[in-house]
């Protein structure tokens, strides 16, 4: 006979109309005290924890996780001070972290979704100017009120069917908080772009209108499918026939920065490139063993990891390759911010792993994976690209044997890692199939002379040939 207390979704911001139930912090049968956290909700403004207004037994959870419901919807029922009350403290601490938890969340201002207009139903018989619209609105509430009753069905976790319209809205907000102003969100929605795919450049990491547009430009460029590539471009109507035979891509953002950096590097630093073929079979074995070892479980291991380690090792033996040329002095760095060139949705980026010399093999593996996934997601931050000291470019990933890389400005050496494939190789007078790769390196001759670059490359190659040397 214990009465049930119902907790309706409150408006935790100023004028919010709905929220998503992100996760329940209690389950059926739990005993909660006043101010114990019940649920985490996400509003248009942010994620907020709701503390319990009642003490008692959790009797019903009325909304499933992932559902978006209107403010005022009943979300949980709690048995009033349960029979087992002796055990229940009336007062829980408001939340574990006294300063943090109860403190508010949503951002000031109204949410990005327009408030639903709700009118109080009018008496139909009133003499006050009845209109068609009014009779419609007076009918509506009775429908929405009936719906939950229909849905009240099988198990205790009832999904009110009165909230079908939110499926579309949940789309963008679900997979993380991409920052963007409402007009940009709107534009992205109109263009069918998922904001999470756009790399943000705003001062607080938000996606700007510019980001969106350059993403859109790139996307359109890429979308021109090969089949129709040789066709004249049908679009616009502006421009002459000749114009339709070329497409113009605005040079901006990363493309522009890349172009500037490459020109600066190629025409100011006298490049010397050298190449060496390496039998990387032992590296391949080593990588295989690492993949199978329990210690590296869940960590992606590739030959690039061994090369990275080899470059760090070899740089310590030939410090001048880890340097900067300033004109009047050569700054030799006693740290290795190891850059890894990455093709990203934004273009070529060279984020680097800070103080890579201090990392164990495992830590380095994790760092490379993080760097790569961040870059691929287009989330590389400027700070992650600054202060590099030596770069690796993994052209082998695309099946290329080797090339002459251009040095990242501010550095004096870059190593190109070609593809590794089985080739005939002469070993002890016999031709054997071995895993062969080609290492290429470009060096700034102002700093690194031929013999030094050769020694450095030979050192790197020796590790790929025998990774066990890393142990010394």
């Amino acid at each position: 006979m214990s009465a049930l207390n119902t907790f309706n979704l409150p408006d935790v911001g100023e004028g919010l109309t709905e929220a998503e139930i992100v996760s329940w912090k209690v389950k059926l049968g739990d005993i909660v005290a006043i101010n114990d956290v019940l649920v985490e909700i996400e509003t248009a403004k942010s994620i907020v924890e709701l503390p319990s207004p009642y003490a008692g037994l959790v009797a019903q959870l009325l909304v499933e996780e992932g559902q978006t419901v209107d403010v005022g919807t009943a979300i949980i029922r709690i048995g009033a001070a349960a029979e087992a009350a002796g055990a229940i403290p009336m007062y829980g601490a408001p939340a574990a972290d006294v300063e943090r938890a109860p403190v508010g969340k949503p951002l000031v201002g109204s949410g990005p979704k327009a408030d639903a207009v709700k009118r109080r139903p009018r008496r139909t018989a009133t003499p006050s100017v009845p209109t068609a619209a009014q009779s419609v609105t007076s009918a509506a509430p009775s429908v929405t009120m009936a719906a939950p009753a229909v849905a009240t069905g099988t198990d205790s976790l009832v999904t009110p069917s009165s909230v079908p319209s939110f499926g579309s809205g949940a789309n963008g907000t679900r997979d993380g908080r991409v920052l963007a102003k409402p007009p940009v969100r709107k534009a992205a929605k109109d263009l069918g772009i998922n904001l999470a795919d756009v790399s943000p450049t705003g001062p607080r990491g938000e996606v700007t209108k510019k980001d969106l547009l350059s993403y859109q430009d790139q996307r359109t460029a890429e979308r021109d499918d090969a089949g129709s590539f040789w066709q004249p471009i049908r679009a616009s109507g502006l421009g002459t026939a000749a114009d339709q035979r070329v497409s113009r891509i605005q040079v901006r953002g990363v493309r522009k920065a890349t172009a500037r950096a490459m020109v600066e590097s190629a025409f100011s630093a006298p490049h010397v490139s050298i190449f060496v073929d390496v039998d990387a079979s032992r590296t391949m074995e080593f990588v295989k063993r690492l993949k199978n070892s329990r210690d590296f479980e869940g960590i992606k291991v590739s030959p690039l990891l061994i090369l990275a380690k080899a470059v760090i090792w070899a740089a310590a033996r030939n410090p001048s390759v880890n340097a900067t040329w300033t004109g009047d002095e050569i700054i030799v760095k006693h740290f290795m911010n190891l850059g890894i060139a990455a093709a990203t949705p934004r273009g070529l980026l060279v984020p680097n792993i800070k103080d890579a010399q201090d990392l164990s093999l495992k830590e380095l593996a994790v760092a490379i994976n993080e760097l790569a996934s961040t870059a691929r997601a287009g989330r590389t931050q400027p700070a992650q690209m600054a202060g590099g000291s030596l770069t690796i470019t993994n052209i082998g990933a695309l099946g290329i044997d080797t090339g002459t890389p251009i040095i990242n400005p501010g550095e004096v050496a870059i190593v190109a890692f070609g593809t590794i494939k089985q080739k005939p190789w002469v070993l002890d007078g016999e031709v054997l199939p071995r895993w062969i790769t080609t290492l290429g390196g470009s060096f700034d001759h102002r700093v690194v002379d031929g013999d030094l670059s050769a020694r450095f490359m030979a050192d790197v190659a020796s590790i790929l040939e025998e990774p066990a040397l890393l142990l010394d």
């Binding site: 009465a3 409150p10 101010n35 942010s46 503390p51 109860p102 969340k105 109080r120 139903p121």
Partner: protein
């Protein structure tokens, strides 16, 4: 040293001869050591600091008073948590948390005397406590059932002001009134007005006007600015290139920057300033250098505009922890004392919750009744129109209290 902010001559002489010169000096000092250039008596580590001007004020404090400071700060923090929870439960439309600013509010509030008159912003819950306002009454406004909630005349604690900065003008006007009361009857007990405002309000024109008038009339007013570093999402550096306290030099009255997380220093500085004002020497600006650890309001999300590291840095300067450390080190308080405070806090929270939930929506007709003292035909006509309009709805008397309502009985 703290008093460097305050041109030293001011203590000997109420007037400032060369405000420009001292301003530059203060500015230079600020660039050199912005963090330390404020009055501090109790450091973040809970040990005493010496200040030639303000340390003597500590001698006035009995152990009972010191424990009282702690009790006040802990009480108001607990109240703040409860009010925040009530907002999250839909019982309040909004709440303005004060966590982090307890020392600034309790220290200054406890320095006031009953005859002083306080003009708060909307965040001065701690000051309300020191003035003896029933804390549950503060929630009426935030529950949306009253424009005030208490009678300001009972405690000389004015109603919360939501319009940023206007209370500084009210305070100066009130202070000018005090001057006139004194002129009419020299036996009147000297009093001062205190204008509370924040760094955000300091950017409003009203603050400037109020300071000009305060200086012109040498009004007995203390401008107490809690620089909590964030005007919603705008950092202090955007609002002012120089420390706020420097502005006092421009108006020609003393300004003191005090560690707003040090309740002892705030109390000492406030006592000095209030005595200065009450004794007819004119206005004082106090900049309490503190930090809003939580959100601007429950409708704000600080994680969107400031790094967690900054909050952590300020948590290390927590006003309660440092006083607790001091009280324990001096053997002025034991575990039982702190346990009793926690208990009392929970009791207060339960009382506030119960009182709030019992608050009812006032009859709209009372608004019509409060327009004129006597019956008025126009008001009567409007009331009749309203009654008619209200009767046209199908759902009679739909509650208008914020958010959820309790719905008993198994559904």
């Amino acid at each position: 040293m703290g008093a460097a902010q305050l041109p030293t001559t001011e203590f000997e002489d109420a007037g400032i001869d060369e405000p420009g010169g001292s301003l530059e000096a203060a500015q230079a000092a600020e660039t050199a050591a912005p963090e330390d250039d404020m009055v501090q008596l109790l450091g973040p580590d809970g040990t005493l600091r010496h200040d030639a001007t303000f340390s003597p004020f500590l001698e006035r404090l009995t152990p009972e008073k010191l424990r009282g400071f702690y009790r006040d700060m802990a009480t108001i923090r607990r109240f703040d948590q409860e009010a925040t929870a009530l907002q999250r439960q839909g019982e309040l439309a909004l709440w303005v948390p004060l966590t982090g600013q307890e020392a600034a509010q309790i220290g200054s509030g406890r320095a006031t005397q009953p005859q002083d008159y306080i003009f708060p912003t909307y965040r001065e819950h701690g000051v309300a406590l020191t003035r003896g306002v029933d804390l549950s009454q503060l929630l009426k406004l935030f529950r949306g059932i009253s424009n005030g909630g208490w009678n300001p005349k009972d405690n000389n604690f004015h109603l919360y002001t939501l319009v940023l900065a206007v209370q500084t003008l009210h305070a100066v006007g009130y202070a000018m009134g005090i001057q006139r009361d004194l002129a009419a009857d020299p036996e009147t007990e000297p009093a001062a007005a205190v204008a509370y405002f924040g760094d955000g309000a300091s950017s409003e024109g009203d603050v400037h006007e109020s300071m000009v008038f305060a200086a012109s009339y040498n009004a007995p007013v203390v401008f107490f600015c809690q620089n909590n570093h964030w005007a919603i999402s705008v950092p202090f550096e955007v609002q002012s290139r120089v420390p706020l306290v420097n502005r006092a030099g421009g108006y020609g009255f003393p300004g003191i920057r005090v560690d707003g997380n040090d309740v002892l220093a705030v109390h000492a500085v406030s006592e000095w300033a209030l005595e200065h004002a009450r004794s007819g020497q004119g206005p004082v600006l106090i900049e309490a250098y503190t930090y809003r650890v939580g959100a601007h309001t429950t409708a704000d999300d600080p994680t969107k505009y400031r790094p967690a590291a900054e909050e952590d840095k300020w948590r290390a300067k927590d006003p309660l922890i440092r006083l607790e450390t001091y009280l324990r080190a001096q053997n002025l308080a034991d575990d039982a004392f702190f346990a009793s405070i926690k208990n009392d806090g929970d009791e207060l929270a339960a009382y506030v919750r119960k009182t709030t939930l019992a608050m009812t929506v006032p009859d709209i007709r009372s608004s019509f009744a409060n327009v004129y003292a006597q019956a008025h035909p126009l008001v009567a006509e409007e009331l009749a129109w309203f009654e008619n309009y209200e009767a046209s709805f199908a759902d009679q008397g739909a509650g208008t209290v914020a958010g959820s309502t309790t719905e008993n009985g198994a559904a």
